[in-house]
Symmetry: C2
Subunit: 331 residues, 2 copies
DNA sequence: CTGTTAGCGCATTCAT
DNA sequence: ATGAATGCGCTAACAG
């Protein structure tokens, strides 16, 4: 493979001249520039970006670290990240944290292969995150609270979301409201549950632990938890599911028992995933400003790269999306 | 940021010794090895992966080039790619081709920042693909026919899929079968259409151009094309949609006119996207072996990297997924 | 406008 | 077992 040296030789100029010519420096005459370009073409010269990066000690790319490239994709979030990154003339690569310590993600985090990183991957440990973040290598986390000098945090207000969801149910006349949540270890889940409890308290409604269950943030998780609830005999007026996937699993469980949503019981989800609009009935849910989260995260990276001082913590609001899975309680 | 030099100095050894120690070479005594590691820890030393790659002229990572990171994700395909890549001890990064010539994808393709690439991005031109592919830099394309010495091609048999889809409709007694397809420029679309025509011909059914329309491979595209078809007055017995998204758009158009699927008209899609199972009625469709496509693509890259000779073209089969959108024609 | 030169940070060959 | 020296391919400061 041809290097810039070969190009320079063929064009009959010095390496530096070739470099300048190829990088469109205007200190080079049009004539030699063309000669160099012709030589490059003849040799099918491609610059080695790695060497270039090494020399400039700057990669012009930022990494988005996902727990699994094959998603469930936070496609809106990625769009936000992508838009702002390219608007700033930077490149974006996505890498997976599958494999934990051995993962591509860790390699990119630790080895200065990018200029900054956004982490949305629960399996990247706090220790690695802190270890990697340094002045000059900004790291934004989207999925955890993490206090460290060089780690910044953008989050959605899950507590508020949980509150709004529960309040929506309450305002539709429901009093016995269950919460079917995700893993207790999940911070998101804890906060949504907090919001739920706050709403019950504020509206002076009772909180029965028999109506609080936990499971996995998946369709199956929601399905099983709902089955269990049904088996209990007594049904609540309404259910707030920890996320949409669980709610969709719940939908299926109810359908199997011929319990109608929302006529017999109202349900609300959380996330506003694409599917939510398509299930029957269309799912009322809480929408997270995912695009904004992504866009803000990258924006912060650039602020940091420019040496600006910024806050270490940002919290964005949620929004109620009313569809058809919640209705007024019949008297 | 500390470099290996700093580590060596602090440990009181030569740079080379530090390098060996850090890379677990067994030529280093346990004592000095520990001393070096301790120094590295103290300085929070992280190796510069870029320098390392440059020195070794090898990156150990391959790139998956997608037209848009924010999907619609070929999640099964990515899973195949990811599994095989990590099984071989390589890293995988995904990058987007948004921005065409200026995109991250082109940068990674051309600048030897990875050891091989898989392209699934219609907006990467053939010219760039050919220009980038070289002996020693394997490129696999998944979305086009492209004949070049160093470009390899794995594809799904779209013609067969189109045939199977149409045949399924025919076997359910339908005779007037429409094809609502994607852009005529799309190779996938052309081949599915070919399969459709072959099936009609083989079963000696008439092909009316009034029942062949083209649109975009999107929900809106399917919606509009279906509206048009309905507006025409006369309805076919069944419709083969160029992809699932279009079929789902069509579903909506029919619903608005109170035309029942499959009682009044049968429809079949192509792709078996996640949504297909959830719409009403669940969509009968053609499933592509996406995981296998991804896995095979990476496998080929490693074969090539090892200097093996392989075929330049691979074609995988499709499969009919019967759900509820096709039923026997009433007499 | 063009050439000479010195690294970027690391892995590795060759001595010792 | 360890160290000195070289160069991967490129950019940029400096000199001319």
């Amino acid at each position: 493979m041809a290097t810039i040296k070969d190009v320079a030789k063929l064009a009959g100029v010095a390496v530096s001249t070739a470099s300048y010519a190829l990088n469109n420096s205007k200190r080079i005459s049009t004539a030699t520039k063309e000669r160099v370009e012709e030589a490059a073409r003849q040799l099918n010269y491609k610059k080695n970006g790695i060497a270039s990066d090494l020399k400039r000690t700057k990669t012009n790319t930022i990494a988005l670290i996902l727990s699994d490239l094959s998603g469930p994709y936070y496609s809106e979030l990625i769009k936000g990240v992508q838009d702002v990154t390219t608007a700033n003339g930077f490149d974006l690569i996505a890498c997976s944290s599958i494999g934990d310590q051995q993962s591509t993600a860790v390699k990119f985090l630790k080895e200065k292969r990018v200029d900054g990183a956004i982490i949305l991957a629960h399996n990247i440990s706090d220790a690695i995150t802190i270890e990697s973040a340094q002045a000059g290598f900004p790291v934004i986390v989207l999925d955890r609270d993490l206090i460290d000098e060089n780690v910044y945090h953008v989050e959605v207000d899950n507590t508020e979301g949980g509150f709004i969801a529960t309040e929506c149910l309450i305002k539709h006349g429901h009093e016995n409201i269950a919460y079917i949540g995700g893993p207790s270890a999940s911070l998101d889940n804890q906060k949504r549950f907090d919001g739920y409890k706050q709403a019950l308290e504020q509206y002076q409604l009772p909180s029965h632990s028999k109506w609080n269950s936990i499971g996995y943030f998946t369709k199956e998780g929601g399905y099983k938890a709902t089955k269990l609830l049904i088996a209990q005999g007594e049904l609540p007026d309404a259910i707030f599911y920890g996320n949409d996937e669980m709610a969709i699993g719940g939908l299926q469980a109810f359908q199997e028992k011929n319990i109608r949503i929302p006529e017999d019981i109202s349900i609300i989800g959380f996330d506003d995933i694409q599917l939510a609009e398509y299930v029957h009935p269309p799912l009322t849910t809480i929408k997270q400003p995912k695009y904004e989260v992504g866009a803000l995260a990258v924006h912060l990276i650039f602020q940091l790269l420019e040496g600006k001082n910024i806050n270490s913590h940002y919290k964005l609001s949620t929004e109620l999306i009313e569809r058809k899975s919640v209705m007024l309680k019949k008297q």
